[in-house]
């Protein structure tokens, strides 16, 4: 050391004795290596002698020696302030150049080495280590802090964390190279480790707690990295891809055997248990392996620079939690086939894939402060795996809950989903969640005017069956079904659909009946099936000898009672408090079907018998009478036809063929009200009907017949010029076409033409009905409508393009839209039926007219609302009309001059 340094040192000593508390480091020299010396009170009072430097064994070195050694060592150890930018561009350069740049490459001169050796072995040797710690901190804060912060805020997040970690690793290298190379070997083993850890911790704290790397930034990046790699490693990405290329996967299965996959579907298809295990544990994709390597090396780096540890574990835990959800959402939606293997598959995945990643990651970042972990330390216990599995399965349950509505729609193809749910709904909380969420989904998706009653009932049946599997006690069903039942009660056509379903013909082939959009055919199948077991388990609650009795579950509603839950028919029938509505609808439906022309009524018979078991004989008596009427009239029909000689053409009039007249004779008291639309039937038929009536009266004395001409079927044969048309039609259609019959056998006469008005008068038939019938015949191409409301017989069919467009102008389109004509005929028929129904309703309304007159006479003028209210109170059996209907009716009365309106109140005209 040159002599000048001694002078400098003494100057410094003087200086320091004055400004001992000054934080400013003393300028040492103008050399290239400006070391910075922190103020150590111990140092200031020492001296350092150059000559004594060679005698490090001296026990009490004087101040001079100390100072010299100190200066030499700190000058060697100090890190040059080159700023963050110097770190960046040298990421990829040669190690030697890099270390040189940071004054870390050249070996210490002997003197410096001796100085360090001297300092370290002194009693206060901690001080050089402390100094170095502070030097690291100072340097880091001054040079790297802002640079790192800027880097962290870089908008491009891809690979950013890796870069940050790389920088930190380099910084660490800078700080620890000389420490590890030259200081630590001077210490004994235990000291080495202690010192290293101490400095290491200093570095970690600096990285973690300095404002350079705010944790929320880092955790966001870390989260991003974890998520990205875990999605690949856990196979979730491949699942999603598979979902996109759904069609290909099946073929590929054939070629690539035992491909690594976490797909539930492929797993299911795998025949053996071993193969299934191998699927997840072997033959990992290169992509997965690469992702795993990337993640683990990143984690190693993080852990090294102090960004791992507890905080990283927290982020990791969060990510893995969401991965579990992601996986369930990717793997299991729509996988509803029964029997469900979801729970096995999930367990498999958790054990082999999920837990594997967790173990690998924790092995890196779950290192205690002491540095190394015990050899028998387990990061993951079996109970942890079990918990993960449970968490995962809860996710499956939640998923299935979300899908439940569609599961029900798919029922019974979706029994696997119900299996999953059964494992899920095992405690009151999940059961409550189940009922609440399902009920709200039902309200949103099913119980609204857009869904047809058939759909609702269909789904209700599915729900009954599915929930009965899910919860044989029936509590869940009870809770879920309530809103449905309430809603169904409000629907007008519920009864109609149910009864229609009950009476529908089951498939002839004995195939399981498929319900169409219109009718619930499966109800009739269900009826025959269900009645046997429904009779057995009646009154189960009161069976005091039942040794297996269990109380109702805790979440059962107070008025819960064990119903015959599986009994679909019973559930549907019990929708309505009274049997009357049901029976009445049954009567209507039965009447309609019995009046059809059919060979037998076996289906109706059996349904009636089965329903009698449920409703009792009395309730369905009217139906029984109806059945009996039909069977009786078949017998009577034969007898009368024999007696009156209607069976064969009578010998005295062999030339003329008379129609076969068959009749169904009803006990009108027991049949639903039948709308009468009277009209004149053809003369020929009237005569026959009279003969028939005579026959009946002689057979059954003191009884008479009333013919209901609008009911029944007629087989007509129309003999046209170029064709013969045979079909079965309704009586009124027959009557209308009969009116077009040629009066003379002369073929040359022009086709008969009649107007709507003529027909109405001639047949005494209501106009809509006539129009409907005419439209029907137009659709059959028997009539044409050359002018509006004028109909003419189409004796010869127009032959395609030869048809003259002049006289059949409105008919030019009729060649190609028979169907539209048929639809028009249907519409007209519906209109006619509606009209007659309205007429009937008005007739009923006349009944209430008496009430209204009485009310208005006694109590003076009343507004509409009050009239309705009064009627609802006083009319026995309730007032069946709406406000609008009543208003219409009253308006009619006003126009007839029977009422007057003043100030919104109706008043009797005096």
């Amino acid at each position: 050391m040159p002599p000048t340094s001694t002078i400098t040192t003494s100057r410094k000593r003087v200086f320091n004795s004055v400004f001992s508390a000054s934080p400013a480091p003393a300028p040492f020299s103008a050399t290239d290596n400006p070391p910075l010396k922190s103020i150590d009170p111990l140092v200031t009072s020492r001296s350092f002698d150059d000559s004594q430097l060679t005698e490090p064994d001296e026990l009490v070195p004087d101040q001079e020696t100390w100072d010299r050694a100190w200066d030499a060592a700190t000058a060697f150890l100090a890190v040059p302030d080159r700023g963050f930018a110097a770190l960046g561009p040298f990421e990829d350069i040669d190690e030697e150049v890099f270390l040189k740049r940071w004054n870390r490459y050249e070996r210490p001169s002997r003197k410096t080495a001796d100085a360090m050796g001297f300092l370290v072995t002194q009693e206060q040797r901690g001080s050089i280590i402390d100094w170095y710690g502070q030097e690291i901190r100072r340097h880091f804060l001054k040079n790297f802090r802002n640079g790192l912060f800027d880097l962290l805020c870089h908008p491009e997040k891809e690979g950013l964390l890796q870069r940050v970690v790389r920088c930190l690793e380099l910084a660490r290298r800078i700080y620890f190279t000389r420490l590890a190379e030259y200081i630590l070997p001077l210490l004994d083993a235990s000291e080495q480790e202690r010192t290293f850890l101490k400095l290491h911790r200093t570095f970690h704290h600096m990285v973690a707690y300095s404002s350079a790397l705010p944790w929320d930034h880092v955790s966001a990046l870390l989260n991003r990295e974890f998520t990205k790699e875990a999605l690949t490693i856990l196979g979730i990405n491949s699942l999603k891809e598979e979902a996109v290329h759904d069609d290909f996967s099946v073929d590929e299965d054939m070629e690539v055997d035992r491909e690594f996959s976490v797909s539930y579907r492929r797993w299911r298809e795998e025949p053996s248990v071993d193969a299934r295990t191998e699927m997840m544990t072997e033959n990992e994709d290169a992509e997965v392996i690469a992702a795993r390597d990337r993640l683990l090396s990143l984690l190693n780096g993080l852990q090294l620079v102090g960004l791992g540890g507890d905080k990283a574990q927290k982020v990791f835990a969060g990510v893995m939690n969401s991965m579990m959800i992601e996986f369930v959402l990717a793997a299991y939606p729509g996988q509803w086939e029964g029997p469900s293997l979801v729970s096995q598959h999930l367990r498999h995945w958790v054990e082999n894939v999920f837990a594997r990643l967790v173990v690998q990651v924790l092995a890196i970042i779950n290192v205690p402060e002491s540095g190394s972990k015990l050899s028998d330390h387990l990061d993951v216990n079996l109970s942890d795996v079990e918990k993960w599995y449970e968490t995962g399965f809860t996710c499956v349950g939640t998923l299935r809950m979300r899908e439940l509505f569609d599961v029900m729609v798919e029922w019974p193809a979706s029994s696997g989903a119900i299996d999953d749910l059964r494992r899920f709904t095992t405690n009151p909380a999940t059961r409550l969640y189940f009922t609440l969420s399902f009920a709200s989904v039902l309200c949103d998706r099913l119980l609204h005017p857009g869904a047809s009653t058939v759909e609702i009932l269909q789904l209700y049946i599915s729900i009954i069956r599915a929930l009965n599997l899910l919860d044989p006690k029936g509590v869940l069903l009870d809770r879920v079904a309530r809103p449905i039942r309430r809603y169904l009660r409000d629907r007008d056509d519920t009864v109609k659909v149910i009864v229609g379903g009950l009476l529908a013909d089951p498939d002839a082939d004995g195939q399981p009946a498929q319900s169409t959009g219109e009718t619930l055919v499966e109800l009739s199948a269900e009826l025959t099936k269900a009645h046997q077991n429904s009779l057995q388990n009646d009154g189960g609650e009161l069976d005091w000898n039942d040794m297996n009795w269990m109380p109702d579950p805790v979440d059962a509603a107070p008025d819960f009672r064990k119903s015959k839950t599986a009994d679909v028919i019973g559930s549907l029938i019990s929708l309505f408090d009274s049997k009357e509505t049901f029976v009445k609808e049954m009567q209507n439906m039965l009447a309609e079907r019995l009046l059809q022309k059919r060979a037998d009524y076996v289906q109706e018979m059996s349904v009636l018998e089965l329903l009698k078991l449920r409703f009792g004989d009395n309730a369905l008596q009217a139906c029984e009478v109806m059945m009996r009427d039909i069977f009786d009239s078949r017998r009577v029909n034969g007898v009368i036809r024999n007696d009156q000689g209607l069976a064969q053409p009578t010998p005295d009039e062999p030339a003329e063929e008379i129609p076969d007249l068959h009749a169904k004779i009803l006990s009108h008291f027991f049949w639903p009200d039948i709308q009468e639309q009277m009209f004149k039937v053809p003369e020929e038929i009237t005569t026959l009907q009279q003969r028939y009536s005579t026959g009946f009266e002689s057979l059954k004395p003191s009884r008479k017949l009333t013919w209901l001409n609008n009911l029944g079927q007629v087989t007509v044969e129309l003999d046209l010029d170029d064709r013969v048309f045979v079909d079965e039609v309704t009586t009124w259609q027959a009557a209308v076409i009969y009116a077009f019959q040629s009066t003379s056998p002369n073929d040359t006469q022009p086709p008969i033409t009649k107007t709507l008005e003529q027909l109405t008068q001639e047949l005494q038939m209501s106009t809509p009905l006539v129009r409907s019938a005419c439209l029907f015949w137009i659709s059959k191409r028997i009539l044409t409508e050359p002018q509006r409301e004028t109909y003419r017989v189409l004796e010869t069919l127009p032959s395609g393009e030869n048809e003259p467009g002049t006289d059949t102008e409105p008919n030019t389109t009729d060649t190609n839209d028979d169907t539209s004509a048929a639809a028009a005929a249907d519409a007209a028929a519906a209109a006619a039926a509606k009209e007659s129904a309205e007429a009937a309703a008005m007739e009923k309304m006349n009944l209430y007219w008496q009430f209204i007159v009485g009310m208005l006479t006694n109590q003076g003028a009343m507004p509409l609302q009050q009239i309705v209210m009064m009627l609802k109170m006083v009319v026995p059996g309730g007032f069946p009309f709406s406000n609008e209907e009543l208003r219409e009716f009253l308006a009619g009365m006003v126009s007839k001059g029977k009422l007057e309106v003043s100030g919104g109140k109706y008043k009797i005209v005096q």
Partner: protein
Amino acid sequence: MKVTFKEWNAVATWRWDMPDDDVCGICRVQFDGTCPTCKFPGDDCALLLGKCGHSFHMHCLMTWIQQEASKGLCPMCRQKFEWKGNEEDGNATQNTQDTAQDTTQEIQV
């Protein structure tokens, strides 16, 4: 065009040859319905027409006639109840009525 009806399946209702809306004086059910003990109308639950102009379900009236207090009288007009009908029917019913009266007399004795 010639229209031929091959087959005409008609529907008719039957009713007793009585004024409409008339009810049995005993059970107050319309004649076209059944008496309370019957299930099927018509042949199973016939009517009886009295010469006094009152008619009843046969089962209703038989129950009445067989009671001692009836004394074979029409429950409506308290005249002696006699069947209206053709000859054989009349005889037959007369006989039943006689036997009914016999039994009541016996009981009175």
